[in-house]
């Protein structure tokens, strides 16, 4: 039973965070599941990452001239250091939903600020978050609302607000898109001053009343001289919105749903779960935290162990946290943050406002190869503290038969569940060198490292 508690805790931490070491899992399992969920839902009770620590070693990345070739390094530093696992996971969630691409912005600091907004507001009220998003300079520039004028409507933000950020396709008309866009005229960014030797000037939200179309609008059956906030209020009264966000939460935290564009025509895999989440969302007046509480305490969540393919960000951060030793913002952190991109998820630069196609669509022969190569290179490094700790735990058990070596390694990397055939393959591989003794500790450590490499190459390791 104790091992079952540990396995459930490992599941919770993989989903609500980026995994946890065995020491942490044991502590949390002793604390209990419900108490751990409450801690995750109350990030203010534990310590977050220190952005100033990152900036102290990379001062040139404080408001740099433009994209500094450092990828998502500041964010990666947060993901590797924060104790607020769920808060940071929600940042990734919102980045995947409100997908904004740095390549168009060419303004690194504004991308980082948007991600910081998700950290600040991502577990609060969804309506408030949408209002902040509508005023977020990175989003305004990304979806061209700065070019949405009273006398020249630009529909980009207005359309995506409805299609991708709230209700989903099929719940509004082309007229609604136009009227919604009219209501957001004048929501722009203060004119940016050209860059100078000290870098780019910040962008700020600015409401230009003279550029706002103050005429009457008819939006989703309501008529009035609507401004942007009125539109968001109406959007948040639509049952479609609660269902859309519920489905996103389910797809991100529980199990695979079909790709987002299919949602208007394909029903959810677990309609009762979506109903429950959507109803909780509505009942709590669109508060994210109570909805997450219901999700993590539900049986459908607890039973969804290994029902999802890890996203590249989860592979990257999960592997780095597992092997340890990457908390310090060393010079390589920029390149490290780009690894997720090589696996198909370039952080801070999604391919489009639709974000990434998730689930099995993360996997193709190229990205699978990247995942395997990345994880195998890490766990094969027996000098890393996380791997050293696995080796030490094994060593306390004395000599290990091939079966014991395999089962212990599977346990310490998860606990992982693997097909019987594959376990047998691992055992066969271990048998080639026989019983593992610690007479030569260095050689034994290498054998363990090789076994870990083989395990992270397994298909089963790609599941969260």
């Amino acid at each position: 039973m104790a091992n079952e508690d540990l396995a459930l805790m490992a599941h919770l931490m993989r989903r609500a965070g980026f995994g946890a070491t065995r020491d942490e899992l044991e502590e949390r399992a002793a604390q209990g599941y419900a108490a751990t969920v409450e801690e995750l839902l109350s990030p203010e009770t534990v310590t977050g990452a220190d952005r100033y620590e990152f900036l102290r070693y990379h001062p040139s990345f404080w408001k740099p001239i433009t994209s500094p070739g450092m990828g998502a390094s500041a964010w990666l530093h947060s993901m590797l250091n924060t104790e607020r696992a769920l808060e940071e996971k929600m940042v990734l969630f919102w980045h995947q939903v409100f997908a904004t691409g740095g390549s168009k912005l060419d303004h690194w600091h504004e991308m980082v600020s948007q991600v910081d907004l998700f950290r600040e507001r991502g577990m609060g009220n969804y309506r408030d978050l949408l209002v902040e998003l509508a005023k977020n300079p990175a989003m305004i520039y990304w979806l061209d609302n700065c070019d949405n004028h009273a006398d020249a409507i630009n529909e980009n933000w207005g359309r995506e607000l409805l299609e991708l950020f709230s209700m989903g396709v099929g719940n509004y008309t082309e007229d609604d898109v136009r009227e919604c866009s009219r209501a957001f005229t004048g929501w722009t960014i203060a004119a940016s001053i050209p860059r100078n030797a000290h870098g780019r000037y910040d962008w700020e939200f600015e409401y230009q009343e003279e550029d706002h179309d103050d005429g009457e609008k008819t939006f989703l059956g309501h008529t009035g001289n609507f401004n942007g906030e009125d539109i968001i209020n109406i959007v948040c009264q639509q049952p479609a919105t609660a269902r859309f966000i519920a489905r996103h939460l389910y797809n991100f935290f529980v199990a695979e749903e079909p790709p987002v564009p299919a949602w208007s025509v394909t029903p959810p895999n677990d309609p009762a779960a979506i109903d429950l989440l959507a109803q909780t969302f509505i009942d709590s007046n669109y508060e994210i935290t109570p909805t997450l509480r219901v999700l993590f305490m539900s049986d459908f969540f607890k039973n969804a162990r290994f029902a999802k393919i890890k996203s590249p960000a989860e592979v990257l951060v999960g592997s780095l946290r597992l092997v340890g030793g990457y908390q310090f913002p060393a010079p390589g952190i920029g390149n490290l943050s780009k690894e997720a991109g090589y696996m198909g998820q370039e952080l801070l630069n999604p391919p489009s406002v639709e974000g990434w196609h998730t689930g099995p669509e993360w996997i193709n022969s190229g990205t699978l190869m990247k995942r395997i190569n990345f994880s195998a290179d890490l766990v094969g490094n027996i000098a890393k503290p996380g791997i050293r700790s696995i080796i030490n735990r094994l060593q306390t058990q004395g000599d290990l038969t091939p079966e014991e070596l395999v089962d212990n390694c599977l346990d310490l990397l998860g606990p992982l569940e693997v097909q019987a055939d594959n376990r047998q393959q691992l055992v066969n591989h271990a048998q080639e060198t026989g019983i593992l003794t610690w007479a030569n500790p260095q050689e034994a450590a290498h054998r363990v490292g090789e076994m870990l490499q083989l395990i992270v190459s397994l298909r089963e390791y790609q599941y969260a």
């Binding site: 393919i309 639709e354 066969n428």
Partner: protein, 375 residues
């Protein structure tokens, strides 16, 4: 069709984001062009005039040369009825040929299955880029997804080659799909095995390549160079897929559109020069398309999502020229301010499938459509 014995090869270059048709193939004598494009219109003197009515964007000098050589076909007015004007939905429709319901099978994935039904060559189709395009993906059809040809390989971090080979041997056994392990596990298993096999085949290509052509240092040039290297290694690849963009020019269109097209033109020009230098161009055609064109009237700095677009087909076997009719720009002929498609893209696909790849197009494009005869 050419009469050579080499298998026909198709390269698709997807212009992602919605390329602005009217500023790519410019109806420069139409006063409505000037009226509708006060902010993003191309100055008369800069337009590359192709005939008495139409011109190319100034960044498309290489395209003009290909056109003058009779090797570039411009297909007017491609699209499909009731465009949703959503990038993602529209791209899905182009990829799956399913405008009315959600398709899951890519048209070139299906073509791959027809070309190589017994999966004898896992590099029959190569998708360039970090993620695989839906156009080439069909469950159970192997497609190699290559981000960068030079660093392609499995467990390359294990430096001891004997140990690596031993591990790869285990890997093969552990990825052999067990019956009943579930759809996703089976998919992962097949993908892993294909990855390994594909890497073994493709790793020979860089070493065999030499050329006097120097490609530019742009993402599209790097992709087309990788395609050239694989094609020249003669590994049996029949379909290549790559993309460039984003062409989503809602704002600041003039500079952005110009730089995108100068990258594309240079890369395409270098690609064909490279193939010609190696006498390997006569069995290759390249197809360029975008998910939709853009709105007729500009929005003061760019153009919003539209409907009809232009497609291009390039190559020695292509009969250059204009195909179809440029849709009317008259206000009364537009739908929601957009050019109305007058050629279903599935007909344009059918020409490629039937008259180039020699396949039956009907089951792939789901029906019969008017075929422009550019081959």
């Amino acid at each position: 069709m050419t009469s050579n014995k080499k298998d026909p090869v198709l390269v698709v270059l997807q212009l992602s984001g919605g390329n602005d048709y009217m500023n790519t193939v410019i109806p420069y004598t139409d006063p409505l062009y000037r009226d509708n494009r006060p902010a993003v219109g191309i100055a008369d003197e800069d337009i590359i005039r192709i005939n008495s009515e139409l011109g190319f964007h100034p960044s498309m000098r290489v395209m003009q040369e290909l056109f003058d050589q009779g090797n570039l076909a411009v297909i007017h007015g491609v699209g499909y009825p009731d465009s949703p004007r959503s990038h993602f939905r529209s791209m899905d429709i182009w990829h799956t040929c399913e405008p009315d319901k959600l398709g899951t099978e890519g048209w070139l994935g299906l073509a791959t299955r027809e070309i190589d039904p017994r999966k004898e060559n896992v590099v029959t189709t190569v998708s360039m880029g970090p993620s695989m395009f839906r156009a080439v993906s069909v469950a159970g059809v192997p497609v190699a997804a290559v981000d960068s040809l030079d660093s392609y390989g499995l467990l390359t971090g294990i430096s001891n080659e004997d140990q690596r080979l031993k591990i790869l041997d285990r890997f093969t056994q552990m990825y052999t799909p067990a019956i009943g392990s579930g759809q996703v596990m089976e998919y992962l298993g097949e993908t892993g095995l294909e990855a390994m096999k594909g890497a073994d085949i493709l790793k020979v290509a860089p070493g065999m390549y030499s050329s006097t052509v120097e490609y530019a240092d742009t993402p599209i040039a790097r992709k087309l160079k990788d395609i050239a290297r694989i094609h020249l290694a003669d590994l049996g690849t029949r379909i290549f897929y790559c993309d460039y963009g984003s062409f989503d020019s809602h704002a600041n269109q003039p500079g952005m559109h110009a730089s995108l097209w100068s990258d594309v033109s240079a890369a395409v020009g270098d690609f064909f020069s490279d193939l010609k230098e190696h006498h390997a161009a006569d069995n290759v055609i390249m197809l360029l398309f975008s998910e939709f064109g853009r709105r007729v009237r500009d929005n003061g700095s760019g153009t919003d999502h539209g409907a009809a677009g232009a497609a291009f087909v390039i190559g020695d076997p292509v009969q250059g020229g204009f195909y179809g009719e440029y849709p009317s720009r008259k206000a009364e002929d537009l739908q929601q301010g957009d050019l109305v498609p007058n050629l279903d893209f599935r007909g344009f696909y059918a020409t490629v499938l039937e008259d180039w790849l020699g396949l039956d197009a009907k089951p792939i494009v789901k029906g019969e459509f008017e075929k422009p005869k550019f081959l």
